[in-house]
């Protein structure tokens, strides 16, 4: 009896219900899209911050005796053995103050150029990059070096250090907008041979993704794997990143909460209007001898169905909406999250029921008055 009545009720007023459903679906879509976005935005933004390059540095321990202490190649194996997915790139550096044939000093940086490429998105290149870390005959020169020594890609560059010398072919000119503009980059073995420091490196720079706390955690993991070495996040970047991210997070959260409240209110108003339109039905049912609790239950069930169906449909819409926002802002889709579904449905369910509550007030009204249309 109850279900038959409900079915008839839903069928008879499908036009009005459709309008209310549209409001619920739209509200649920906006809610789920924004919650989804909020949950994913921080992860996306920490990835964006990796355009800042290296944020963790491994260097010789501070009490090792002198400032010019060096790391051994075993450090690199230890770093590689940690093999964490958070590490975007890791590159060793050995700096040598070399002299050119014209007796000018410059800094030769020996590193792994394939890894450097992955943590230096802001470098612009004229010529070719050295793609392999086994390429020992070519070098990359900074913009200022190229200007002072009139170098172009393809030219040769002779570098001397303590009686040893090396002849390199310029593969490309890098424009960095920093100290790197004054340096020459080669693969690690070239610098090690020139300085006669086989298997030694100066520092290791790493680019690690994650929040400030996660980076701190990774630094501790590496510190445990590298006893006696100094592993620390670069504070300039870690501090700024943490501060900016927390600001952005609060900002987005505050706006999302505002919109959620507004959307909930909007759905509430629609549901309340729908409920008020049911006055006549309630009056009629009461006049026919229906118990008030049963009548109210009927309409509450109607509202609940509306809320749940609208919530599920809205969640699907929200997934598409947040996907689109993710693509247009971050260039990569935001993965849909299933845990947003119960949240959206519960919110819409609650709001729909709250909107139908004014019906209870009708219990005090005498059916004759309602039926007369007052």
């Amino acid at each position: 009896m109850f279900w038959r009545l409900l079915w008839q009720l839903l069928r008879a007023s499908r036009g009005r219900l459709a309008v209310a459903l549209v409001a619920v679906v739209a509200g649920a879509a906006v809610c789920s899209a924004l919650v989804n976005l909020h949950l994913d935005a921080e992860r996306k933004l920490t990835r964006e911050f990796r355009t800042l390059g290296a944020n963790v540095v491994v260097s010789p321990a501070r009490d090792a005796g002198s400032a010019s202490a060096l790391l051994s190649a075993a450090t690199l194996d230890a770093i590689a053995s940690v093999r964490a997915p958070e590490v975007v790139a890791a590159a060793p550096y050995l700096y040598v103050v070399a002299r050119t044939a014209e007796n000018r000093s410059l800094i030769l940086a020996g590193t792994w150029l394939d890894e450097v490429r992955r943590m230096s998105s802001w470098w612009t290149l004229q010529g070719d990059w050295i793609a392999s870390r086994d390429d020992l005959s070519r070098c990359l020169v900074g913009r200022a070096v190229a200007k002072q020594l009139s170098l172009v890609p393809g030219r040769e560059l002779d570098l001397h250090y303590a009686g040893r010398s090396v002849r390199l072919i310029v593969a490309g000119i890098v424009s960095v907008g920093g100290t790197e503009d004054n340096q020459v980059f080669v693969n690690l073995p070239v610098a090690q041979q020139l300085a006669d420091l086989d298997g030694r490196i100066g520092v290791v720079q790493m680019s690690v993704t994650g929040s400030a706390a996660q980076v701190e955690q990774m630094a501790r993991v590496f510190a445990a794997a590298l006893p006696g070495l100094d592993v620390r996040p670069i504070r300039q970047i870690a501090d700024a990143e943490g501060q900016l991210l927390s600001r952005i997070r609060v900002l987005i959260l505050a706006t999302v909460v505002l919109i959620l409240a507004l959307t909930a209110l909007c759905v509430l108003a629609t549901m309340a209007a729908l409920a008020m339109e049911r006055r006549r039905d309630v009056g009629l049912m009461k006049a026919l001898g229906g118990e008030m609790s049963r009548v109210v239950r009927l309409f509450l069930t109607e509202a609940a169905i509306l809320g749940v169906v609208g919530g599920v449909l809205g969640w699907v819409g929200g997934v598409f909406l947040s996907g689109w926002i993710g693509r247009s802002v971050f260039g990569s889709a935001i993965s849909p999250r299933l845990d947003v579904l119960p949240l959206t449905v519960a919110l819409m369910f609650g709001v729909a029921l709250a909107g139908a509550l004014p019906l209870r007030l009708l219990g005090q009204v005498r059916p004759a008055e309602i039926l007369r249309g007052e």
């Binding site: 924004l34 005796g65 103050v97 004054n182 919109i259 926002i325």
Partner: protein
């Protein structure tokens, strides 16, 4: 007649108007708040990004190659070119002077520690770099005012245990790693030798930066200048400035622009135009963007403001939905009035006119109230997120009013059209 009908309608049934007005006030408050915040978010975040430090590097034009590793110059003092300190006040005279948040000159001097400090093991290298800079220095500006700047503004991540040295005094802070190596503590006198002359500096604190300065002595610029025998000179200048993210236009070569384009470029705070203006006031320098900072800043700023605009759009949409739904409901509720008016001989147009006039009246009142509430909301939001309330933008008021009126009209249009087509008799019968 018209005013009497509308006036009566408001006086007789204020409760019905209340739903509509409440929806309008809330919807427009959220719209105003999000719009105010989003219009300000670029400026605010650009200021927050200054915690990343300087984004412009100024060096002498005809310089030898700096032997810089990790931000410390290892060139001997007699090599390379220098810049005069006295010219620096001119930086605050450029077109975008208010966008220059701070600047710090640097001069590095290699020093030795002749007296073995307590705790030093024999055979240790007792050499380090002394970095001379400003901590919190008052720079005289040509217009007669002074500007306070230094590393405490441009390098906010530097932390000192103890106190910062005074800019005129013979004091210094010692990097945490060097202090450990030498066994130096706050309050000690640090003896050092540069270029054959012996000096003694009072250690006011231990500096930790997480960078190469941890291995150095940082002292006021005047101390480094006298150690290097270069009074009034420095090697490089780091400038922290508020900029607009670079776009296609900013990457064009200014010398190839038409005069109008050039003016637009010059009067936009792109990092390239600020660098250009610095080169104008300081002859013989090269000013370059520190691309690592500038590029990621632009990148992230563009992303975040894009995100905020989309969220604002969602807020506007939600506000529109709320107001539209409330508007439709109020009109639907009064459909029996439409029947009565029709029965008394009013045309569809007249009825629509009355209803729309009412809606617009509510929209204006609700819009103004919503604007006021939204401004309060935005102030609260800005205060709690950035610590600074966003600028009040009165230009938003007409925008909000137009949106409110449009949405209220649009929401009542559909039910009114339906009402206009209905026969008066069934409506009056209550069907």
């Amino acid at each position: 007649m018209f005013f009497r009908v509308v006036g009566e309608s408001f006086a007789r049934n204020p409760r019905r108007k209340l739903l509509m007005a409440a929806a309008l006030v809330l919807g427009m408050a959220v719209a105003t708040a999000t719009l105010t915040v989003v219009l300000d978010v670029g400026d605010r975040l650009a200021r927050e990004f200054r915690s990343l430090g300087a984004n412009l590097l100024v060096t002498p034009q005809s310089d030898s190659l700096p032997l810089e590793i990790g931000g410390v110059d290892y060139r001997p003092v007699d090599e390379g070119a220098y810049l005069p300190e006295s010219e620096l006040g001119k930086l605050r005279t450029i077109f975008w002077r208010l966008n220059i948040v701070g600047f710090s000159p640097f001069l590095e001097v290699p020093v030795e520690f002749p007296v073995p400090q307590s705790g030093t093991r024999p055979g240790m290298v007792s050499r380090a770099t002394l970095i001379g800079t400003w901590f919190e220095h008052d720079v005289p500006i040509p217009d007669g005012t002074t500007f306070t700047t230094g590393v405490r503004i441009t390098h906010p991540w530097w932390r000192v245990e103890g106190r910062w040295p005074a800019d005129g005094a013979r004091e210094c802070v010692v990097g945490v790693a060097l202090a450990q190596r030498l066994g130096v503590r706050t309050g000690d006198a640090l003896a050092l030798r540069a270029g054959g002359a012996d000096f003694s500096l009072h250690v006011t604190g231990i500096l930790s930066t997480g960078g190469p300065e941890d291995e150095a002595v940082v002292a006021p610029l005047a101390v480094a200048q006298s150690l290097a025998g270069r009074p009034g000179q420095f090697r490089r200048l780091l400038v922290s400035s508020l900029t607009k993210p670079e776009d296609e236009f900013a990457r064009r070569d200014p010398s190839a622009m038409t005069p109008i384009e050039y003016d637009r470029w010059y009067c936009t705070p792109y990092i390239s135009s600020i660098a250009y203006q610095i080169r104008e006031v300081l002859p013989g320098v090269e000013a370059r963007a520190i691309r690592r900072v500038a590029e990621s800043e632009g990148h992230i700023l563009t992303r975040v403001s894009g995100l905020m605009w989309l969220v604002t759009l969602a807020a506007l949409l939600a506000a529109t939905l709320a107001v539209g739904a409330a508007s439709a409901t109020t009109v639907l509720e009064r459909i029996s009035e439409v029947g009565l008016m029709k029965a008394l001989g009013a045309s569809g147009w007249t009825i629509s006119f009355f209803f729309m006039a009412e809606q617009i009246l509510i929209a204006i009142v609700g819009g103004v109230a919503g604007f006021g509430l939204g401004i309060l909301l935005a102030r609260f939001l800005g205060q709690s997120v950035f610590g600074v309330p966003p600028a009040l933008r009165l230009i938003l008021l007409p925008v909000i009013l137009v949106i409110a009126a449009l949405v209220a009209l649009l929401g009542s249009l559909l039910p009114l059209r339906r009402a206009a087509r209905l026969q008066p008799a069934p409506i009056l019968r209550g069907e």
